[in-house]
Amino acid sequence: MQWQFWIIQTLNSVAFGGLLFLLSSGFSLIFGLMRIPNLAHGAFFMLGAYFGFTLLQLKLQFWLAALAGGLGVGLIGIVMERFVLRRLAGNEQGQVLVTLGISFIIADICLLVWTGDPMPLSAPQALRPPLRFAGFAFPTYRLVVLAIALAAALALYLLMERTRLGAMIRAGVDDTEMARGVGIPVSRLFTTVFLLGATLAGVGGVLGGPILNAYPGLDTDMLPLALIVVILGGAGSLLGAFVGSFIVGFIYNFGIALVPDLAYFVLFLPMVLVLVFLPQGLFGRVQI
């Protein structure tokens, strides 16, 4: 096997890991703070991709489409949190089931609006030619996606570790009840984190569009990956989401390339082992 294969696969893995980070960082924070896996998170990603497709059809500039698509999904996230999940406060099982129901509703609406055909999103013109270096051709757009994911990781790190809002979110992940007890408005934090998580998933959907396309089933393809990332990395941990995303990115890409028949086996086996032997994940504090 040529070593060019390994280099390209490695690049694909880290670029996909970057996309997964955009999806799973918000998923992880929501899980850590609200103690619920938001099963509509994959649908948020898919919706972002479809929003991006439509906005590009309307001739919006690509990066503006990514931002607007992400904010559109973020607004839907706020509505879902404030008007549905909040009414079920304390009923975690009910909340999880509702997120599952909403993911089905979003999937059906997408099918109705954008039909069942895959919708290709075009990368920005300037990023389409490959980047040539040392005799290799690297897909430029994927490198840019990776750079954006790293920038998002840095921004989230600074938000979580260097601001009072971030410290309050981490306090809520540590001990939600005590956080309320010291006056932290946890309900408002829920909304903030939901907005942040849904927006990131939406932006990830638009940015992922030129790599994955928008298609029915994108949600159910992405959600399990986000779940694995959070279980591996640990719910509520940004570092866990970061490391977990790249681990899953590598396992997923190399699994499909090398042992396509066992791709899901190699993907889910680490998740099963972590759940059994390290239920709080590599960096998490919340037991799943």
Binding site: A171, D174, D175, M178, G181, V182, G183, I184, R285
Partner: protein, 240 residues
Amino acid sequence: MATEALDISGLDAYYGDSHVLHAVSFALKGGRLLGLLGRNGAGKTTCMATIMVMGFLKPRRGSISLYGENVAGLAPDAIARKGICLVPQGRRMFRTLTVRENLMVAAQARKAAGSGWSIDRVFELFPRLAERAAQLAGSLSGGEQQMLAIGRALMGNPRVLLMDEPSEGLAPQLVAEVGRTIAQLKAEGQSIVLVEQNIKLTLDLADDVVIMNTGRVVFRGSANEIKLDDAIVSQHLGVF
């Protein structure tokens, strides 16, 4: 009465179907320290948790007034922002936050008489915490965690400070240090409810005492009354 800092009246609470607080009533006057005593399981911590609406406890009947304003049943964060701040049993630090962050997240601005609490003022009160400012709270010793729990509650600029067993699990010299801190806070005019198993510490500090048994108030009076009459302690607390 509007002059009481904290007025608990006819408070009933349930754990599921279990009736755990029975018409509990007591009042704390501004600037005074009320000691809440009782055997294990008497309902002291349950009473604190019911006031703060924590641990699945909610007042079913009765009122909780903070300077005349009924706060019974508000969300815990709203109660804390109104000015009832809790030093919880078991300290319950945010273990993955640093000492400074633990204090920062609890800060509440309040237009109160006297100077407000700041991180620097907490560090003046507990110089050990200043030395550990950047350390994770989970790595502190028990005594340091207790100082942090008190400091965190003070950052809320409490109008009423609830302290739930602050001496629990501490070495005798640390208990004395916690006692001195509470005395200092009281001298500065802080209104305090002190829940304790340590009768001596409580009687040394308290102006008024309430004794609970099986979720009911069984004695209400001044600390001096108890000091002068050992029978009260032996009858209700079953010691000596």
